[in-house]
Point group: C2
Chain length 622, copies 2
């Protein structure tokens, strides 16, 4: 199993283009939106540990993790520039954490102020999940600021967890019901060099599948928590999609650090199952709201798609770890699919509000219906993004991920620098003791032209491997002004670097393409989706009138491309059709009911930014 | 409002052809299947009124109605021939009813042996619904046998209901939560001539919408019980579909008997709403399981379609009453749609097992899935008919309806005999004091040829009006051997009768037609259904392999018609296509993946008779 070294976002300066604009919104708006809502809902105040029964804002089992993700986001923002107000806020929180941490290292708000007698008793109550996010935040904050108070506290907590779970075996369960700590412990190991944290992560992974089923609450079963089998025997992605993808990311981390082929094989099998059978074209995963989880192969309903925003983020984490293990572009292709669609859709274009769920079709009538019963089991997602949710895992996850998106660009092997994602940026880093500089100049994904400049001693005699995106069927490449031809290997084109500056000009031809799903996907049978580059498109009622299922795009794809500032992307406008309703509910097929209509497609990620309206991805073509 | 007089099934001898075979199975098998299961589940025993708390087979609130419908079925069978075993069983039940009836006339098993203190307190507990079915059975049994013991008992009960609800107003509610008694009371009025029963029915109809909402249990609201508005203000069919259609049938009865134009108008509006916006192509109504009810206009999902068998029957009741009020073929067209599809599908071809729900698409994987949670809100109907349900309203309803299907053939006005349905039969009846004989010789719906022979003094100078089915675009008619041409009026072609025998030969050309739904119906967008005559077709996995959504019928409709004894119908076999799955889950549209495949279509009513398998009605065409 060959390994690749990641270049993390701290070494990547996103200095313009699409992602710079996204990150600016994140820094200027999103992180403060989340902060404000966390203030309002008492999430920060809860760290004072003075909540009393009967008071409002009762801490919930996952609140620590919400706050931790926000703290982690602040740390990432601090890597790129000062933000004294935010840093002060985190410092204050760290003080509270240290002040309220148990002498034995334990730290959890819910299990201290609400149910102090029930620590490590309830598998599915997010206790270790919260610990994981606190650990991630502590590592990030130490790296960003050099301050180790938080990190030291979390090391003590991790040590306690090792004591309780591994040495004493005194917890009521063996492995967490909501995974996350696995990948967090690997981060802690990498930062501190303390192998016991890696061992603890491996312990939680290796012992999965051993807890008895009855440890779960009510409707949850082992499959929900990826506990139905030992992880190396799991062949299909099951259960809660966020837990699953965090687990798989952790498994990939441990495979990477321990050179564990069986774990790597399991990761590959699970990755394949997801991307070949259980993922939406938007990269969303988790097709059912109830259980927030995977269901069956090819069971991908559009209107009720769950596709939690956190699952999109977790899926990118998983994909990134896989490309650290294997230089195959399928991982970066999938990360790109998620990134430009299911991830970006999770917040408004202005960064002020969020989706927890990201469906592929919206009919507001169904959401708001008031039918024969006071409540109904037919559940449809909300139609507009909101500032906060009761369970608010997604908003801080979005802001921390957005701040660290530079993680997705590069890895190195002994002799090759891999370019996984195309994002305007400049980077400088050390490669086996020598300096390397790489810059990308691009409007991607608005167009497919990327100018890559490589220089530095580190590159001399080595190669750059650029990903040919899976969506791209036509491209040209020049190297130092001369056309370059070569055959991609597992999706990467390897370009030798000389001893001077190497200039690579990539031109991936971007034009609208009619996509279809595998014929195994029942929900999309006979329907198409429009994609341009990595961006999936949708129609909205506000542009095209309601009853979007009655629309068909013309197969000629006579569509005008236009840059639209509001969407910061290309809209596609052109020839389409609308089927007028027949006079009777059922009648012989009548093609004369098709009337030409101009259709306007917008990037899927921009849906629901102009009021409540119908939306659809999979439409008819004729 | 012109009125038409129905010729009921007792005067119609179904003497061969498709429906004779159905009725024979009903007489030989179905009525006994239901009897046996009612024995096994203690439904009959409960009429001994000796059940004690803690014993098995605790009576449920609707058991009286189950048994009553079976008794009514026996009465209808007795109209057509002796069945001493069945008659003895009913006589024994009648003895128990009379023995256990309260001195004041009250009769209800549940509210005597389980909750005797709670009579007339619980609106939604089916008390008056049970009374309605008992009244219907009593009328039927008196007519069939001349024995009036049961009828007399039910008259006493109806009198008590009048006393409690109208005179004393001592019940805790004004109108029933589950309608049915309305139409039953009109039957009682017609049979006894006692106008107070008609008045009581009218009372229940006129006062609908006056009960306070909080009288309903848990999840049920006023809309569920058609109690959200006074009936004359209701514009859309809402709530529980069976309750709704029984109510509408009762409303039409009262409109008929009282010449109430406002009530008739309401019926028409509701009928239109159903058939133009809320009905499946199979005639099924009630698109959602939760609440067993109507949802929104054009909201007609196929896999989760509820389409209760009882709702199909109730819809035919409603349609029949509408054609007694207005000689417009739309009512008989709709009854025909239900009859040959959603009604017939409700039992196995051998008459031994039943569907409560009649979906338009089945994927057994979805029904049997075991996903992230122990239970799941995504609910899919059972895939195979069963002998009995906990709530077993449908099986006895099916057997009573099948025995009385001859009700659907004829009405008369002053000068016209209307032929609404085409069923092999002979009839003789009195028309304004003179005899009329009418016979139909036909294989309908196997083919569209019907020879109608009319004779008798009653016809002299009058007309026969034959329905030109809505599905039929091409037909020939001859009268006494000579071609007959005329323009149908509201779907009926009026044929003058001479003083001798009149022979009408109808030939409705039956061939497969590609049908589509209104483009407002999202679920069927871009899909077609095959229909031949009144019969809707489906594909099953057992004939065509799984993944039925990947199939497309060829638009040429190159299909071979073949009579199949197993289905007692025409199967259609011919050119179609299967889209092979693409290598990747999502890929550019690739028409080369279409591979020719012979498809075999069977009548929808015959689905799920050959083991568990996929089924689909709405497919692709190319």
């Amino acid at each position: 199993m060959k390994q690749y070294t990641p270049i993390d976002f701290t070494k990547v300066d996103i200095n313009g283009g699409f992602w710079k604009r996204r990150q600016q919104i994140n820094r200027d708006t999103t992180v403060y939106t989340v902060e404000r809502r966390f203030e309002d809902t008492g999430r920060f105040a809860t760290f004072r540990f003075d909540w009393k029964e009967g008071e409002p804002n009762k801490p919930d089992i996952y609140w620590d993790s919400d706050v931790a993700k926000w703290m982690e986001a602040v740390a990432y923002l601090l890597e790129k520039g000062p933000a004294p107000d935010l840093e002060k806020k985190v410092d204050d929180l760290v003080d509270l954490i240290v002040k309220n941490q148990d002498p034995n290292g334990y730290f959890n708000v819910f299990f201290t102020v609400v149910k102090p007698e029930e620590r490590f008793l309830h598998r599915t109550d997010h206790e270790l999940y919260c610990a994981g996010h606190l650990i991630e935040a502590a590592v990030a904050y130490a790296h960003a600021t050099g301050k180790t108070k938080f990190l030291d506290a979390m090391c003590r907590y991790a040590d306690l967890i090792e004591q309780v779970f591994v040495k004493d075996r005194s917890a009521a369960f063996i492995t967490p019901g909501h995974e996350e700590i696995e990948l967090a412990l690997v981060k802690l190991y990498r930062y501190t060099g303390e192998k016991r944290y890696l061992d603890l992560s491996k312990f939680f992974i290796d012992h999965r599948g051993e807890d008895p089923e009855e440890q779960y609450y009510g409707h949850v079963n082992g499959r929900h928590c990826q506990d139905h089998l030992p992880v190396r025997e799991q062949k299909t992605a099951e259960g809660h999609a966020v837990r699953a993808a965090y687990l798989y990311a952790g498994m990939a981390d441990v495979a990477y650090e321990t050179d564990d082929q069986t774990l790597y094989d399991a990761c590959n099998t699970l990755f394949d199952n997801i991307v070949e059978r259980r993922m939406y074209i938007t990269g969303g995963i988790g097709s059912e709201a109830y259980g927030e989880g995977f269901t069956l192969d090819y069971d991908l309903p559009n209107k009720t798609a769950y596709n939690e925003s956190c699952a999109s983020i977790a899926m990118i984490f998983f994909a990134r770890r896989m490309w650290m293990l294997n230089a195959d572009s399928r991982y970066a292709d999938i990360a790109e699919r998620v990134l430009y669609n299911g991830f970006l859709s999770s917040e408004t274009l202005d960064g002020n509000a969020f989706f927890y769920e990201n469906p592929l079709e919206i009919d507001p009538k169904l959401r708001h219906r008031n039918t024969a019963m006071k409540d109904t089991t037919a559940r449809f997602p909300i139609t507009q993004r909101v500032e906060v949710f009761g369970c608010s895992c997604c908003p801080p996850n979005i802001t921390r991920f957005m701040a660290s998106v530079g993680d997705l660009l590069y890895t190195t092997s002994d002799d090759t620098l891999f370019v996984h994602q195309y994002i305007q940026s400049s980077s400088a880093f050390d490669w086996a003791g020598k300096e390397v500089k790489i810059a990308q100049d691009t409007r991607y994904p608005i167009d497919g032209k990327i100018a890559i400049t490589l220089e530095g001693d580190g590159l001399n005699g080595r190669k750059a491997a650029v990903r040919i995106p899976g969506w791209c069927k036509e491209y040209t490449i020049s190297v130092n002004g001369a056309p370059f031809s070569g055959t991609p290997e597992k999706g990467y084109l390897y370009i030798p670097c000389g001893d001077g500056k190497t200039e690579v000009i990539l031109d991936f031809v971007m034009k609208p393409v009619l996509m279809e799903a595998s014929s195994h996907v029942q929900e999309d049978a006979g329907r198409v989706a429009l994609q341009r580059g990595p961006v999936v498109y949708c129609l909205e009622g506000v542009d095209n009138g309601d009853d979007l299922r009655a629309l068909a795009v013309d197969r000629s794809l006579a569509l005008q491309e236009e840059y639209d500032e509001f969407f910061d992307g290309i809209t596609l406008t052109g020839k389409g059709w609308r089927k007028a309703p027949s006079k009777e509910l059922y009648a012989p097929v009548d093609d004369s009911l098709w009337q030409e209509q101009t259709l306007k497609f917008i990037p899927y990620y921009g849906f629901a930014n102009r009021g409540e309206t119908e939306m659809i991805v999979w439409i008819q073509a004729r």
